[in-house]
Symmetry: C2
Subunit: 352 residues, 2 copies
């Protein structure tokens, strides 16, 4: 963090907002009026689906500032929203950013956080069009809403999967979760040792997947370029298992996915071994991958194979067959959904 | 609060969301897909300005659950966003609702909160189209984003006021602030007395203004019906003085408002007397009125007089004249802006 410390009280609310938003430039024609009024004004043409999504992040619930740099936190807070827009087959366009800030943060801290948000916005061509900033007695609170668009009729919901559709997933799974385990382990090891240097050698990918996830806008573009409209789509934020259950529920169908088809990076496998964790469980339930899970008609099989970084992991079935994974030895293992549970904060750590 | 207590852990995240959103019906044609997917899909025609605003409310910063019923809190959290859309001369259409919830809240508590939000949405014809729900270690967090629309070209910013324009305000000012003083006083008086019954007789209006504010959608409709397009507009959330400064800054102008024209309710005056507070200071700096402050060309003078509940309180000047109030005895008193300051939480109480 920066050495310079300006108390937020010195700037006041308006001064802080001025400082945070200085030099912002609208990148989309649809951004008619951004920060600086009661509302942002957006001009969309008649041929668009407008997409809106929102995410709230709370300190010590969603992030731990002991090992998450504020810039990374800002980047991630924005990207998880972009990922939700991509999961509708859309393009993120604008975000609003609301922050609750406790008095232990300086202007520089909040600038670091905001820099991360702005970096993500530049990388994805998104405009910051508004927000709210307020005092918090309780640590940092981040709430971001994203508005996106898709050509009319091209938005993809969770509800359109049909029997025999192929189930596809982008990238690889479980790495962000393993990154979290690694960061937590180093945090414990560093306790009371101010000179402690964490050792991430050979595991950089895991740390990056946890601290700096990306939204798969590239996959959305590749799908369009190859003339593929998925029948259903969702991003993997709570784990493959949970997201598959969402698609099955919303589409009124069942599914079969093959254990040996689930894409897993080498570093993820090594880390699971090291921590004596079940690798497939981590990939199924770990969460925070922000990869895309989608279904396409069987007839798109060849088209899908052309897209780099997308893997077919199974197929959709009639609903009465339920949702299951077929293990390496051919057994069927029923999938379970996991959701947030306030009285089971250690749930994910226990997933293994 | 309800007698029945269901632990949120019993429902889990998805169960809670299902329960909260059961029976929601889209009221606007533009709501193509609401709760239940990664994004809400909104269809707007080519003739609209789309408006987006967001507000975050934190426990013990923006509200005190000792005297704010959860239903009222929900209502207010939604209405303050509607007010921002109205302040652009727009109509609120959709909201997303994000909640951070600590484990001391039961499902019933959150339902009460959400009932208030839904009540406000019904009253204003707004659809809930998404949100996020998560655990909080630190008390209740509410973040609402509102999307609204206005016919293309009719959205009103803070920046269009011109020299000689009339300054208008709806309703009356300072009552919400006096309501807060009253509630705080009764809270102190009730400390340690479980059987304490607060006495609000003759002051019901003040309590209602604090606990159940309304957005002035009726004024927006009356302006349209009378063929008036304000040159600038803002809602009064931080106090008349602060909002006038915003308009002057954004419009590059000065202003003169007359002390004796500022609309103040009888109950507000009585309460200020009782608390030995300066009445005009309360009206200028009290905040949370959610009335509309706007400017119209001098030529609209007769049209404005026809609108019930709107009062002309002054006029716009050239910027070099600054922003000032003309007191009852004809003296000029410069206006000051007030903003949020995290290290001066008692600021508003000290305003007097």
């Amino acid at each position: 963090m920066s050495e310079k410390h300006t108390e937020i009280s010195q700037l006041g609310e308006f001064g802080l907002i001025d400082r945070l938003t200085a030099g912002l430039e609208a990148k989309n024609d649809s951004t008619a009026k951004a920060v600086g009024d009661d509302c942002a004004v957006l001009h969309y043409d008649a041929d668009s689906d407008i997409l809106v999504t929102t995410d709230m992040l709370l300190e010590n619930v969603h992030f731990d500032l002991t090992y998450v740099p504020l810039r990374h936190l800002g980047y991630k807070a924005a990207v998880v929203n972009f990922s939700d827009v991509c999961a509708m087959n859309g393009t993120p366009r604008q975000i609003t950013v609301s922050l609750g800030i406790s008095s232990r943060f300086t202007v520089e801290h909040i600038e670091e956080l905001y820099d991360g948000i702005r970096l993500a916005c530049r990388a994805y061509g998104v405009d910051i069009v508004g927000g709210d900033t307020c005092a918090s007695h309780q640590g940092l609170v981040i709430s971001i809403t994203c508005i996106g668009s898709a050509p009319k009729g091209t938005a993809v919901k969770r509800s359109g999967a049909h029997d025999t559709d192929l189930i596809c997933v982008s990238g690889d799974l479980g790495a962000a979760y393993m990154g979290l385990q690694l960061l937590e382990r180093e945090k414990v090891a560093s306790a009371g040792q101010p000179d402690f240097v964490p050792d991430f050698s050979g595991k950089e990918y895991l740390v990056e997947r946890q601290l700096k996830p990306e939204a798969r806008k590239d996959i959305i573009e590749a799908l369009a370029a190859n003339g593929i409209k998925p029948t259903s789509m969702i991003d993997i934020s709570d784990g493959l298992s949970s997201e598959l259950m969402h698609i099955c529920k919303e589409s009124d169908c069942g599914c079969r996915v093959y254990e040996d088809r689930i894409p897993i990076d080498y570093q993820t496998a090594v880390m699971a071994e090291e921590l004596n964790m079940n690798l497939v469980t981590a990939a199924l339930n770990g969460g925070e991958d922000y990869e895309l899970l989608f279904t396409v008609p069987l007839t798109d099989h060849e088209k899908i194979n052309k897209i780099e970084g997308v893997k077919v992991i199974g197929y959709i079935t009639k609903p009465e067959l339920g949702a299951a994974m077929i293990t390496r030895d051919g057994a069927e293992f029923p999938l379970r959904a996991q959701g947030w549970n306030p009285l089971a904060a250690e749930q994910k750590s226990d997933a293994e």
